[in-house]
Assembly symmetry: C2
Homo-oligomer: 259 residues x 2
């Protein structure tokens, strides 16, 4: 059984060319099979501003009208995805950049909400794990842009955290999977202003204690609940930490492990 | 030995949503393995205009500065590529959209010219046919955007006709390959204003006669010379015709066959 790393990187690392290069240097030295999922960063918002396409965010989700879908498809699946792929190739890590539409990897449906029209935003129905298994068997690093499709020709803007979560769960059926969320903190912190106050471990047993004693910042609770759900669904563990600490995280030296 | 169709479609079909849908309907019914290479159409030029990035064309090639490379990567590898993939999925043809950087499929180098600086434009060094063989073995239609890389992290804007030509040659080492250039005419015409004046067949034997008697329009000569070179390099045949005639072309009923 292989130990696969499913790594999600967010905007804080994508928007900073030097940090991205350091991160890619680091992961290129990791022997494990890797699946990399990237978010969008500020580029899509910047392009929308330049193109005068008004943007609306609701609960951190981008309302995606037709013009915005075009922008995120260009930025995520085009510019960001292909630059990461080329940078991994330069590091002799053979990468292949795809979306959920490619190889029919991720089927989704347009989100229906009783009061909010999110537009072309996808809720995931199914991840075809065999697509990733085949790519990993050829020693590729799949680099996944957060775009899916509905099977009838419609592309859908889809949350990258959710994609990472669903991919990790799908791969866990036949593999040991660590899901690594890289964000702008060194882990789940007791004190958000103190990067040394990392909570090293969260489990189904201690989570209620951490919640009721307000030790976890409320903004982190959905992330942790999703991580616990992933673990309950078979993911070996989920680690939250800083992208630039990725080697130490993989070595178990830092980050918050949810298991 | 499989008979693979390498099909290149240009801007005339990409810019026309109805025509593109008809074309994709048609190829979805073809039993042969297909590799589809697409050009860019007018979208990149339109986006450059909106973003006020001046564009310069020299001999039909787009001079590609850093901002233009960003635009073509977004439009070709993002918007156009993923829309074609999603449309093929809707037709139950399992497609995977990639560039030459993905899976290290096409290595190129930045074009050096004694007097013209083309910018980030690639000349192809090598096509890894095994990448395409592996994708075709999984019943995927590889959909190729005309972007390559140099192996050091630099993406390069690369002519789609040339990519189609090099892919066809690389696949011919182990397969029977028909290279199909879809453009805005029904074939090589004796009279460019008469779509019925198709020259059905061009060979190394009759090309000189056609040239010296001015039967071939001078603008077609580079295309035909490249096609003859492809045939000399092992491609079974090259057919020029209209995208909407693709089924008749594959059936040998129309188009100009170069063999």
């Amino acid at each position: 059984m292989q130990h696969i790393l499913v790594i999600k990187i967010g905007g804080n690392i994508i928007d900073d060319a030097n940090a991205l290069h350091q991160f890619l240097d680091a992961i290129s030295s990791i022997a494990h099979p890797i699946v990399l999922i990237h978010g969008g960063g500020k580029l899509a918002t910047q392009l929308a501003t330049t193109l005068q396409v008004p943007q609306q965010m609701i609960n951190g989700r981008r309302v995606t009208d037709e013009e915005t879908l075009k922008i995120v498809t260009m930025v995520y699946a085009g510019y960001i995805n292909k630059n990461i792929v080329a940078q991994l190739q330069a590091r002799k890590r053979n990468a292949i950049g795809i979306t959920g539409a490619d190889a029919n990897m991720i089927l989704a449906h347009k989100r229906i909400h009783s009061s909010i029209d999110y537009g072309f935003v996808g809720n995931i129905d199914h991840v075809q794990a065999n697509v990733l298994h085949n790519l990993l068997a050829q020693q590729y690093v799949p680099v996944i842009a957060p775009i899916t499709h509905d099977g009838t020709g419609q592309l859908l803007n889809t949350n990258a955290d959710t994609i990472a979560n669903e991919i990790a769960k799908a791969l866990s059926a036949t593999n040991k999977v660590t899901l690594l969320y890289c964000f702008d903190k060194k882990g789940v912190l007791k004190d958000v202003d103190d990067e040394t106050s990392i909570i090293p471990s969260i489990t189904q047993e201690n989570i209620e204690h951490l919640k009721t004693n307000n030790i976890i910042h409320t903004g982190m609770i959905p992330k942790i609940d999703n991580a616990l759900a992933a673990v309950a669904a078979g993911v070996h563990n989920v680690v939250l930490g800083h992208a630039l600490d990725v080697l130490d995280i993989v070595a178990g030296k830092t980050g918050t492990v949810i298991h």
